[in-house]
């Protein structure tokens, strides 16, 4: 009886801790912030080996660092490697799950994971990982077309792709706006994924400039 209570308390504490770390993620800005959070999520993943969320967040933080280091190709690879490791572990945990929303969240992050690899050197890594990342985003959009993070990433692709190859800044604006309105309808706290506001706003700010 007592052991059961202790275990319950432990789980409760762990959940609380995860929520607290996710709250910190909402305020993260620099590579250093994300790096510290990646370590925290990684150790959370080590203690809660069956919960996909810490793995998801560890993958996300590392992939986000990859995006932030776009202009510094030499540094991207170790983060992309970690992002892939955690991403794959999260994927294994969600295997067989019927929750389309969760799967869409993960595929959106897997898009970022593989896209970050492109930044190592687009000339050499672009072909393989560009195609692979897009497949994940398409899958995510299929599962949950209204997911604000999927919408934001679609907007990101439209914004940064040259026009000739399907880029469309207007469409990017529409998608980012849509992502924002969906985010406003969502609770912006808790441990479930809710990031994307600052990122969508950044695209809109760039568009308006």
């Amino acid at each position: 009886m007592l052991t059961a209570v202790v275990m319950l308390l432990q789980v409760y504490a762990q959940d609380n801790q995860l929520t607290a770390t996710v709250a910190q993620l909402d305020k993260a800005k620099t590579v250093k912030d994300y790096q510290a959070l990646a370590t925290k999520f990684a150790s959370a993943a080590n203690t809660q080996k069956t919960n996909w969320l810490p793995f998801y967040y560890a993958a996300y933080c590392n992939a986000r660092i990859g995006f932030m280091l776009e202009d510094d190709g030499e540094r991207v690879e170790p983060f992309a490697n970690d992002a892939e490791t955690y991403g794959k572990q999260a994927e294994a945990l969600l295997k067989g799950s019927t929750d389309k929303h969760q799967q869409a969240e993960l595929y959106a992050v897997l898009f970022m994971v593989y896209r970050s690899r492109v930044f190592i050197n687009p000339m050499t890594y672009g072909r393989e990982y560009g195609i692979r990342s897009q497949q994940y985003l398409d899958k995510a959009a299929q599962l949950d077309p209204q997911n604000p993070r999927v919408l934001y990433l679609q907007s990101w692709v439209k914004y940064y792709t040259p026009k000739m190859w399907g880029g469309d800044k207007e469409k990017a604006k529409t998608l980012a706006t849509e992502a924002l309105s969906k985010l406003q309808a969502q609770t912006a706290t808790g441990e479930q994924p809710h990031w994307g506001k600052a990122e969508s706003e950044e695209i809109l700010a760039k568009y308006n400039r």
Partner: protein
Amino acid sequence: MKPIVLLLSIWSLCLSATAQISISGQVSSQQGLAIAGASVSIKGATAGATTDSSGHFHFTTKLTGKQVLRASSIGYKKQEQDILIADSGITVDIILPANHQTLGEVVISAGAFEASDKAKGASLTPMDAMTVAGNGGDIANSLRSLPGAQQVGEREGLFVRGGTSEEAKQFVDGTLLKNPNYSSVPGVLQPARINPFLFKGVLFSTGGYSAQYGQAMSSALILETMDLPDESSASLHLFPTSSGLGFQKLANNKQSSYGLNVNYGNQAAYNSIVKQRPDYFLGPEYGNAEANYRVKTSKTGMLKIYVNASLSNIGLRNPDVDSMALKSAFKLNSSNVYTNISYREMLGKDWKLQAGAAYSYNQDKIGLQLQDGAHQPVYLAGAPYAWKNRDMNTTTNFAQGRVVLSRLFSRNQALHIGAEHFYAEDRYHSGDSLYPLTDQLTAGFVEGDIYLANNLMARVGVRGEHSTLLKKSTVAPRASLAYRFGDGGQLNLAYGIFYQKPENQFLYQQRDLRFSKATHYLVNYTKKAGNRLLRLEAYYKRYAELPKTIPFVNSNGSGDAKGIELFWRDKRSIKNLDYWISYTYLDTKRDYLNYPYALQPYYATPHTASVAVKRYFENINLNVNLVYNFATGRPYYDIRSPQGNEHTQVFDHGTTRAYHNINLSGAYLFNLFKGKWKHPGFGGIGFGVNNILGTRQIFNYQYSYNGMNKIPVIPTAARSFYLGVFMSFGIDRTEDFINDNL
């Protein structure tokens, strides 16, 4: 009995007081992966161990009580953990957090430019090298915009750091590529025989290279071919001087592929529009067909077969240097077959086998003729005219076999042991005379890449060679060191001795020659960060036993070369723009051929610089490449022997004007049949202009026999142009272009 029991128990007490206590455990990463080779020790004590391949460690200590256990491994942050050592021993598991500040393993890089499909940031990729404007599809030509190479416009190949183009050799998957370019024509740069898109890795070594390669005194261009293609595809190109088509078929099980490419070009039509200085009476005509088969022989095994057959036919007339009323005509019919077979396989976890074989056949039929104004042959007796009517025929059969066995260790350390054998059979006919040469050259080498300290890597090797033709053996030591600073900068040092057989032109006349020899010393600093790359290199080279032709053919030549080189690449400062700058300072003198004493050779100049710019114009879908090459003037000499064949004298000399050259090339890309066809394609319009400004370029001067007249060696036309279309189906390469520019 009692005292004995007491004694025994005291004995056991003493034992326990000095007993070794066992400490064991496992080191793993945050991802739960075992870390092999991590060092674990007790702080302030010598006790410690290194983890095995499963991350486990075990050691014993006399220490007890509260201690600090520390663990470290490359790529991870150091970790310290408080432990309490119990008498019964303890088990401790340690988790090391990843350290993303570390920059992977140290890479030996003195003297080398690597363009790889694994390149990060501002490091070169094969595509970067192949898109240098004006290279004409020749990798060696595009590498002339990197430091170390000279701008020698009248001849193909690489002239590196005071060396001739014969001293720079190309290797494909380990074996020698005997004839990388179409056979030489005096004064006219000849194109490459092999499609540059075959290669996924290019290592251009300008000195101090590995003991795995030999018979190249100045430079080794080490090329690595692609494995299986991603998808099946077909391609087509139509340009005024060359058209071709080809396909690559990937088997459904993705375990093998085959492909065929055919190219043909005749420049006669182009030359009728863009006037050429030489009067071409044949071609220039080039044709080649290449086929490949690649198969995965196992999970780690790969077999690749490549065959290339090519021919060229060229005839041209130029004013004769000895008599302005006459023309000297040159005609070449050349055919070549090249085959390369390479195989690699892992033998267990730690051993790697690489084997290769190459065969090449080459025939050059050259006809020289002195002609009058109506292009009729003129036969005049006596020097210098007698030898201006001649037919020469050279055939070469060349075969090579090579095996390298490597033992791989952690952190990219390795020990390589290899052997190779070269068979060369040359038959040179001139008039009624035949000059046969057959050589069996055997080489063996051992080389190790090892860490001497955490950030200090060494490559030490030795290569031995024996030639049956020269009846001589050589032993060539090579060594390279690389030290990495905390900020990612790397300092490299290299030393090596490089031997090369004299060229056939000397051996036809005199077989009792020695291997030419070059000793390289070089120091290099390289730093890569933030999509920028800086590379500085200084070197000194000493040449010995170079071929001399006076008073008779001998091996008594010598020389030296020293220089400083700079390379800077920046992909970051301006969005969508990538540029590099290279500068080469060269101070070299040689006493060779018919030089009376050490002179700066005719192909060398002190200052050479290049700026290469690549820009993608997103809105109009246009890629533009621009390169500016500059070189100070080259020396030229009138060297003759006043009395017959004895000693020579420099009767006249000078320096050519400085060389300026701007080449522009570009491609406008578009989609083909998008959405309408099962296999979408992409197409492009490619264009280029060499020497846009039409700057007058003089490469050298040719003197008449009596020294009374000299004529400049200049390009065949002030400018050259191309415009054409290319298409590719099957592989949707639009992603490449998108990703290149995101």
